[in-house]
Symmetry: C2
Subunit: 130 residues, 2 copies
Amino acid sequence: MNYSRQREIILDTLKANVVHPTAEYLYAILKSKEPNISLATLYRNLNQLADNGVIKKIDGLDTSSHFDHNTHEHYHFICEKCKRVFDVSSDVAPDIVQKTEAETGFLVKKYDIVFNGICRDCLEKIKESN
Amino acid sequence: MNYSRQREIILDTLKANVVHPTAEYLYAILKSKEPNISLATLYRNLNQLADNGVIKKIDGLDTSSHFDHNTHEHYHFICEKCKRVFDVSSDVAPDIVQKTEAETGFLVKKYDIVFNGICRDCLEKIKESN
DNA sequence: CGTAAAATTAATAACAATTATCATTTTATA
DNA sequence: TATAAAATGATAATTGTTATTAATTTTACG
């Protein structure tokens, strides 16, 4: 991977985001910093960064991929009401890779856990309106 | 959900499949039984069956959704070599929903675990060729 | 430094998977 | 059996993403 100004800006922008943005969301922000950046450049670099383990690509949350600068082991929860994505600690599934490899005899290279449901804020709102 | 001949055939075909087919794969099989069936009908019914909990939609394995007639709690593994999809027992992550709800205060409605790696057969083949 | 090879870019065409539309047909039930 | 709701087939449209290409930028090295 050679240096590229665009990739640096993409990574910086992702790091500055507490959310787990989609490419489309990131693109809107990037456009204001770097008006000539191309959507293809964004996708190319996000995939490249993910392939090199610098960031993480999250699939299965909704129709598009999301991207996460936090590469520490953790999972994700998407709220069906507000659509926000939250982190879930890896404590909820201890030793899952070792257990899976032991059970199957397969080699696990990567894995992900995705939860769907209602977040605490939205649960509160529902409770209030009743 | 009213009865429909096409939906019955779709469900029967899915049940007869040990694999976890994509819509495209299923469509090829269906065509031979029911030549006039439409791809839109297939997608419509797969989503409908999944929404009603009759089958399960698996996302995040590869670029397309896969469908599973087995609705018992279990996870999936896709081999990056042979592309086959395998079941993984729910034992590898005991009480994950309760733990997640306790940790987050969120309501978990559904979740899925997807593993990527190399299956035992492909590991053997790699070992042999060395 | 200068320059050639390799990597990256912007722009956009192309693609694959899925969903929407709509006129017609099938199903449930009064 | 008449009628309203549900489902269908055909296909257009949409969405998210990747491929192509000519131009530009970056890197390696003489």
